[in-house]
Symmetry: C2
Subunit: 177 residues, 2 copies
Amino acid sequence: MSTKVTIAELTGAIRNIPDFPKPGIQFKDITPVLGDARLFAGCVDLLAANFESGSVDAVVGIDARGFIFAAAAAYKLGAAFVPVRKKGKLPFGTFEQSYDLEYGSNTLALHVDALKPGSRVVLIDDLLATGGTAVAAVALLRRFQANVLEVDFFIELGFLKGRDQLTDVPVRALVVY
Amino acid sequence: MSTKVTIAELTGAIRNIPDFPKPGIQFKDITPVLGDARLFAGCVDLLAANFESGSVDAVVGIDARGFIFAAAAAYKLGAAFVPVRKKGKLPFGTFEQSYDLEYGSNTLALHVDALKPGSRVVLIDDLLATGGTAVAAVALLRRFQANVLEVDFFIELGFLKGRDQLTDVPVRALVVY
């Protein structure tokens, strides 16, 4: 399937929710995009646009919304799907990587057998904010000497400058605020 | 894409993890299936096997592992993707449905505008255990007078008899223990 949608259509379907999950935050609700079959397929196609089927070994997705785009892109590209999850969720041995939050910290985990050394991987997440999550995920992928072809986001909050943290990988976002 | 895999191959790739997340539980780790491009695609194809592209309005997935199969199946079928999440995660107005756990309870939520009345939907989750989650999810779908065509699971723990709770929908599982 190849479905053409425009960035303007995607942007128009994103719903702004003021003060979620806490006062002052303008939450970008992507469910109206997911809930439109054409927009969802088109969004996946745009996220995977730089790759041909068979040219990627694994698409890596971050729990939980990242799973949605990454799993669909993995299927489209004929690639494996590899989940990055919060510490404690993956049942087998894991590599772990912590990163700072505004208050406190968070730890991401990846199974120690998730990738073969040198695998060609694409990391897809729904949102690039401060970049902490993505930087930690890329650090986990480096444990496998993975070839991180690209890190793709549906939405980038440009004013948070998360892209500046991702210095050693190509970064692409479909919709930038 | 159409990728043929056998149930024996899928079963062989599921990894049993004793005593996770707590003593006495034999956790079924599906990441080796996801991590094999051919098995992942084949598993998605089998989950969606009863439907043709365009015959399903939405594939509904349950947070978080359910998102993986459901999103890929939605993409394959040209359907929308609708996430069912734990209460508090979805930013817009929600319908909610609680269900009992062994100790305590859990509440699932679905956006009030997630589906048009009468939508043809398929619910996909990774695991059918006691059935509490799936029953609650189907109850949420009924709030939209949805036409629940099928509820599909990758794995069914048959000895927990969750299928007996899902009396009013067709239920299918690929691998049954």
